[in-house]
Amino acid sequence: MKLEWLSVVRLRLRALWHRRRLERDLEEELRFHLAMRAERYQQAGMDTGAASQDARRDFGNFTAWKERCREMWTFYWLETLRQDLRYAARSLRKSPGFTVVAALTLALGIGSTTGIFSVVNAVILRPLPYPEPGRLVELWGNVKRASVERRGTSLPDYADWRDQSHSFEAMSWLEDAQFTLAGGDEPERVAGEYVAHPYFGMLGVRAALGRTFRPEEDEAPQRDRVVVLSDGLWKRRFGGDPGILGRAVQIDGQSFTVLGVMPPWFRGITDAAQLWEPVHMEGTAEDFANRGSVGPAVLGRLKAGVSLAQAQSEMDGICRRIEEAWPATNKGRGVELSPLDRELVGPDVRLSLAVLLVAVGFVLLIACTNVANLLLARSEARQREIAVRMALGAGRGRMLQQLTTESLLLAFVGAGTGILMARGGAGALMAASPITFPSFVRPGVDPAVLLFAVLITCLVGLALGIAPAVHVRSGNLGERFKQAASHAADSRGGSRFRSLLVVAEVALAMLLLVGAGLLMRSLQQLTGIHPGYDPDHVLVLSVSLPRATDDARTVVSARDILRRVAAAPSVEGASIGSDVPLTGESAIFYTAEGQPPVTAQNIPRAYIHAVSPGFFRTLRIRFVAGRTFAENETQDSNVAVVSENVVKRFWPGQDPVGKRIRRGRPDSKSPWMTIMGVVNEMKYRGLPNNPTADPDIFVPISERSRAFALLVRTPLDPASLTPSVRKILHDADRTTVVSNVATMQELMARETARSRFTGWLMAIFAGAALLLAAIGIYGVMAYSVSRRTQEIGIRVALGADRRDVLKLVVGRGMGLMGIGLGIAVAAAAGLTRLIGSLLYGVGPTDVWSFAAAGVGLALVALVACLMPAARACGIAPSVALRNE
């Protein structure tokens, strides 16, 4: 008995295949019965006609019983669905104009929502392309200062973490670096990673060719110089030669043996690595033993079943022990475990995408209200049909089912088009995005996206079914017919429902407009930011000069380069610095002469940049006091230029020139440096704000510097200067490597990429919302005017003038708009707080954004109301009264 339902389904499925035979058999079986009964009556003496009539009477309603039997054999709901679908398709085909407009509106809504979801899915929901990515974490050393700040760790700390912990399957140092690859025609700067041997295993990747590192190969001191290449580098630089294994390549002037080549998809955690070297490859034994030097984060793979919290608490214990054993370097230092996926896609991007998804969802809702309005108008026109069908015995539920089927069909037609749009759109969106997403992020229509699309389509279809349902009221039959017949007045349920639609539409559009307004205002603030230097007309290049080799060849110096570039035509000024603006991160502790005692929490820290004397002029940085370095002042002259905050902290109100600071903690033995000049604070390390509030210290750059950033100021478009500067550099020495060429404006734009991405998309969505809302309001008002033609005609006949008519129509529209606006403002005041962290320079309740959005929306709504109102004014009473 248990499997009874199985037998039922099996037989029904069989019947589905043989439906024609089923039909025939059923008919034959029942006819046989009638014939037998009639025969029996005939035998009893009845004539043929009476016999068959009596047989039929005994049998009952032949068709009904046959129906009952057939229902039993078929999936009844499937059958009705088929009927309803056919009916819906027919009725949609009959009004192609409505169908096309409604389907396209839905396609836009569903398509853009699905498109954004596919980006969210690819960036946030889809796991990293490594086995069991949930167990991968990054371990950051942190340090407690005014607030807890994130740092990397040192090699000895890393070794302790690795050796003392039990929560991890493996742990690997992970340091990104730039390498100079020589040999061949042109030396080249390539990105790479220093990693420990378990790194590749943790990520579940093996060498496609050869092998990766063995344990003994990442030990200090290094015995052999070995390297693993990326597929891209191998193909590009070595022509994909399979004989590369065991061959020597020149990296940073040393000879390295190639151990293996990685598969094409693998570019390391930094997503840019072209080669990998073992940890301990660069540096001295002393460096390796120094707990004070801070390197990068560490990658770890948790053991199966170990939670992040468990691992964190174990690591906290280990860090406390290290802190006790090495107070001088490790006081206040801890560790922070963070899931790798959170690291690769930061909270800002996540929030941005979430906000965009909600925004596009609003657009979909507005699109839906427009279609609902169309459906409502349509069903009003069909009221008579509905009344007839219900009078003939169609149940209320059956009627609703049929109408819902129609709206579902419409939604799916829209969704089909929409998904195609989403497929193209998401790719285009990612390509046009100023945010660079990790390379493994590829949006597409995968099962999750498809499921999402189907789900929202069903929701949309069902929701749209509600619209015409207001006309499927049970109740007095005559009443229904009367209402269906009258064109005199807007039907009451329909009118209320339509008002609701307008209010909802206005509220949603207002929310989007406010959101977009806030984000655009932020963007405006961001682009208007004064970074403390003049970023226009500046070209930035990373330059790496060849090392002085043993042969007598005289190598070009940084000073030579600078002189040559400065002398070039259209160059207004040039300078060099130790780091590229907006990327450098070299913090030092420093000590001011005569400073009061400090604690670990407020020990002075600054970012140090070595620059040439022309640096301040090239970037047009303002001197508050003193001057820049003289040409003859070198790093041995012990002079410095500091930013204002150094002075404000230690010598407020005094002349800072001539005061002295030195590198290191208070007990440091490094020489005192004399302050020659003071410049304004600047955003040189990050936008819209420096990552930390520490000041900057500038010192003369070393004559022997081989790798530096070159900054060139020109009155022309800085990008146009690139070829000539490159030529000068190569003319100076053929083996000079130039990389990361960008204008200063481009560097700044990268910092604000996320804000622009979010802001512009939000603006597009808000624009779409505004347009859809305008169409919606216009539609509702126009419809209501057409329904009230007669009423208006009577009013005019009774003496109402144009003003009264105008007031009647516009008043209603604007009243609804006011309600929607009020609701939206109340909601927005709460909702915008959620995007507070995406804003810069404006509060979440910025009055201007709210006011602009409100006024803009009101104007658009007014125009949308005025057009139907103008038509209402043109109504002549005679025409209106004949209208019926």
Binding site: M1, E4, S7, V8, L11, R12, D25, E28, E29, L30, F32, H33, A35, M36, R37, E39, D58, F59, G60, N61, F62, A64, W65, K66, R68, C69, M72, W73
Partner: protein
């Protein structure tokens, strides 16, 4: 239908099922035969609205309690013959004993009252 019981309405569905199964326990039969047989065995007291029998037959077939084959009737016409399956036989036995208990209980109540 006078004082006769129409099977639709007055008798619960399960009862019709049981009567059909019982009738078929004597051998394969077509629908008309079943109606005739029930009427005769009940001395014409139980009269089925004849069409009602067929949904019941089809439902029992779907549930696997009955199997059906097409065969030739006594007057040489194609007819659908139903017979009990093993499952149907077991089901009938259960229902019959339930019925006996129930009707016994009812008549005991009626006698004491």
């Amino acid at each position: 239908m006078g004082d006769k019981y129409g099977l639709r309405g007055d008798l619960v569905q399960g009862t019709l099922d049981m009567l059909v199964l019982k009738t078929l326990s004597r051998g394969a039969m077509h629908g008309y035969g079943i109606v005739e047989s029930i009427q005769q065995s009940s001395d014409d007291i139980l009269r089925v609205e004849e069409g009602a029998l067929y949904p019941a037959l089809h439902r029992l077939e779907l549930r696997g309690l009955l199997a059906a084959d097409w065969g030739m009737s006594e007057n040489n016409r194609r007819a659908k013959y139903y017979r009990l399956t093993a499952v149907g036989r077991k089901y009938l036995a259960e229902e019959a004993s339930n019925w006996a208990r129930l009707s016994g209980a009812v008549s005991r109540v009626m006698q004491t009252a």
